[in-house]
Symmetry: none
């Protein structure tokens, strides 16, 4: 049976840019458009040329190879001709394959925001589409506030869509601009648009997540007939975000009810790069990936040892809604104090550590892990520390160095100019294979000072840790009061992009940080010797 084609339209670089805290440079936009193009998206909307210098510069050349490169902008202003509208002229000059015009389709907004008549707005839509086609561009029209507009005045909303379609727009995109429309309303209104004569093959959906249903609304629109979906990487966007294309791509490809009827430009091989795509984008935004993201999150296929864990290992297929490998993710059964012996053996095996069921060292390791977890260690979030602990207990790694002592001092006082000044200094004494090493450093705080001092001189291992970088640092107080137990989690990366997590626990935050810092360094040394197993998920 022939499957119908669903077209994927990415607006990460345009609507995604409206996300609080997100501001792409031209270089960011070049990198992201290449990611999207390589992945197989059909349309890459790059921004609004003429609206700001970044977007104007970005549209000075075409930035995609296969995907259609789209410039976004307003329809021509009312009261001027298309050839006399400078905004439209800028759009037509942009080096894009297609132009996506945003058009009002709610009569209230035509009156209040544009201040023109309903008929003038229709003329703007028509003449803008014609102008784009006249210069050889594919035209799309985003019907802004379409669903709210339809509820207020269905005839006018339909006139806007029909005008765009009849003028030659390849796609008429129905936008839930305020994000409050429910899936059942989407289905009904898309059905009404198709009944009014615009074929589903020319209709797109643009959904926002204000009620947590942008994905469901997009799929409801597809079921009702729309054949283009607009969305963003990881669902970034204004307010609560846009429809998450990462989630939608996986669902369209892997869920029988869609994959049997539809196809996208993304095949099974590309789909295996989905987790990477999502994480690479977060990396570019310099933010931690959402562990709970559908399909691609580090926890998406994770199970805490509990009522499901042992059954899961018997037959993962009936405990997972899709196979994690299909999207380039993997299964994770977390080490935790509820885990039994077979969980432990499996957890070690996945890290390349073989240990017999009856080895007394295994029992020792289990009892150490349980004891430590009872005092606040959380190995489920610190795979590298777990692996180190296993190697140490089983006696399968050397002791690279030992710590003789450390001292950290934080002092706040007034400087000579009467300004408050806080200084943090750390001194570390190590024994590296018999060689005494002593280092001192100042830092932005006590942990930073300690980190700098510790990595300043590791004797004969110093060159090996040159590319070690601390990527993240998390502190959790495990119970109330300032005398409470503190747990520190540290994320590290190195030159080849590997990431690993280590943990430290103590009544003393400095002590806890020091444990996690030293574990991170030892893990790196172990990794350099190809002794480290599966790397902590990221």
């Amino acid at each position: 049976m022939t499957r119908e084609r669903i077209y994927l339209f990415d607006t990460t670089l345009r609507d995604g840019q409206q996300t609080p805290g997100v501001d792409f440079s031209v270089e960011d936009k070049i990198a992201i458009s290449a990611m999207l193009d390589n992945f197989g998206l059909d349309y890459v909307e790059g921004g609004y040329p003429g609206a700001n210098p970044t977007d104007t510069a970005f549209f000075s050349e075409k930035r995609t190879q296969k995907a259609s490169f789209v410039a976004f902008g307003m329809t021509k202003r009312a009261g001027v001709s298309a050839s006399n509208d400078p905004g439209l002229a800028t759009l037509l000059q942009a080096r894009s394959d297609a132009i996506c015009f945003v058009a009002k389709s709610w009569d209230y907004h035509v009156r209040v925001a544009l201040g023109c008549s309903n008929e003038e707005n229709l003329r703007s839509i028509r003449e803008s589409v014609e102008a784009a086609r006249a210069v050889g561009r594919e035209a799309l029209v985003d019907c802004e506030h379409f669903f709210d507009g339809y509820k207020a005045n269905p005839d006018y909303a339909l006139s806007c869509a029909r005008t765009a379609y009849e003028a030659g727009a390849r796609w008429v995109v129905l936008c839930d601009t305020n994000g409050g429309t429910q899936p059942a309303e989407i289905r009904e209104i898309v059905g009404a648009v198709i009944a009014a004569g615009i074929p589903g093959s020319a209709l797109g959906i643009h959904a926002h997540d204000d009620t947590g249903q942008a994905v469901a609304n997009s799929l409801a629109a597809v079921e009702a007939g729309c054949r283009q979906i607009q969305g963003t990487l990881n669902g970034i966007g204004e307010r609560c975000g846009n429809a998450n294309l990462v989630t939608l791509i996986a669902t369209l490809s892997l869920k029988e009810s869609y994959s049997s009827r539809f196809e996208t430009g993304i095949d099974a091989v590309r789909l295996e790069g989905l987790t990477n795509l999502s994480h690479a984008f977060d990396e570019l935004l310099n933010r931690s990936p959402n562990h709970q993201a559908p399909y691609v999150g580090a926890s998406a296929f994770a199970t805490k040892a509990g009522i499901h864990a042992s059954a899961l290992l018997k037959d993962p297929r009936t405990y997972e809604h899709v196979a994690p490998e299909t999207v380039g993710n993997f299964r994770k059964v977390m080490v935790s104090d509820q885990g039994g012996k077979s969980n432990f053996i499996n957890a070690l095996k996945r890290r390349g550590i073989d240990v017999g069921k009856d080895d007394p060292k295994l029992d020792l390791l289990i009892s150490i892990v349980k004891e430590r977890e009872a005092t606040g260690y959380a190995y489920e979030g610190a795979d590298a520390s777990f692996e180190l602990l296993a190697h140490r207990t089983l006696g399968t790694i050397p002791e690279f160095f030992t710590v003789d002592s450390f001292r950290v001092m934080v002092e706040r006082r007034f400087d000579a100019n009467g300004r408050i000044k806080t200084v943090s200094e750390a001194v570390v004494k190590l024994d590296v294979d018999g060689e005494q090493v002593m280092s001192v450093a100042e830092g932005d705080g006590p942990v930073n000072a300690l980190d700098l001092a510790l990595r300043k001189d590791l004797g004969k291992y110093q060159a090996e840790i040159a590319d070690l970088v601390l990527a993240d640092f998390k502190v959790r107080i495990l119970n109330g009061g300032t005398a409470a137990i503190t747990r520190v989690l540290i994320e590290s990366t190195d030159g080849d992009g590997t990431r690993w997590w280590t943990v430290g626990v103590s009544e003393n935050i400095i002590d806890a940080s020091f444990q996690a810092l030293t574990d991170s360094i030892v893990y790196k040394l172990m990794k350099n010797r190809h002794m480290a197993g599966r790397i902590a998920a990221e």
Copy 2:
């Protein structure tokens, strides 16, 4: 027209506990169950008594006033009688109003995970429900893997549901355990269950977010006839999380298509506490609230200055899908925050501080708060620090003491017996109304030492702070790396049970802690003089 009642079942403390990184103490569970109970949830599922010491202790008393307090557990094992099953006995002894049994409803899992016959599984369901009812408990049955089970063997899945219902279960809950079911399938299968004779008024839905549609699936089930929704605060839960009750509560209450047909136990007044509920829960988990969360996120009603901002200010109603005040959130236009000034005046008034609209000190205070919030202060979680800052800026409190300097040292070394020892010592120099005071103390960590030194001798104010106790201490790293900005929140209490929160922010965790500690002491002195206003919410 009479609206049908939708029952809200919270499983934050049970299924939510499966979230990687989440581990509730008994105290956490007591605090969260009180939050849920006060907010108006119908059912609060507290955990699995007998499965671990925390849950067993938590169920030693009933923890809710109005909500039904629910214990979760397995149906009786096959091969033993209900009266001989120790797990079931523990469940029946728990101090709960209701018992929610989890039961397999996919024949494959009955065979592979339970290793018993289909008929034995039905008997376990029947006898477990009967045993619960015999001791006066309401019975619920979570039909695990119901939707996948239905697809594999509809007759058997329906038999499980019917057996539960006929044995007297108040609710038969259809669980999408693996989270991969699509809304259209949910609608169809719920319809089939109702057609098979189980009324919608006895059916619940339990959805997971593995395809980003837990909310949509829950609503699809309600449309198809289910009248109970299971979910968690902020959607925490295993893998990608459970259905987000915070989002669902708002949608059911505010969206015409639901509110015209249904009602929940949460009225419009309580709904205004929704944003607070969501943020208070994140605070308890010590994690940053999701800015993009539907309805309650800091960005949910935020607009970047762009094509919408000016029109939004003309008429917010047509640019917002609901009014932010209805859920206790507020509008945020990120460039020209015109609502700022009157919001501030109201916030001060609530704390008993009157300031005129044209007072230049008000503008100064607003600019200080904005500047500080931009560097990481979070006054919404630290009312006492906000109140102090206002008094200081307006010049309405005395300077009780000043800090000349402090010094904190943490040292780890081996003691005479070769054991590792870590010592923390702090020295504080104060000027108390012209009197020089210098104190030194050792503590369990640097912050504890600093706290002890600071409160050791406050000169003439010492007697006044004798009943001051630090109740909680939270640390959040605001961006990656060990050189990141650290925010410390401290909760204090005193003899009359008042609680207040103070905040400190610095690159240096010790410095940030010191700011929060001194704010706490000054607030206490102010409170003793009846100058403190409304106390921080808890």
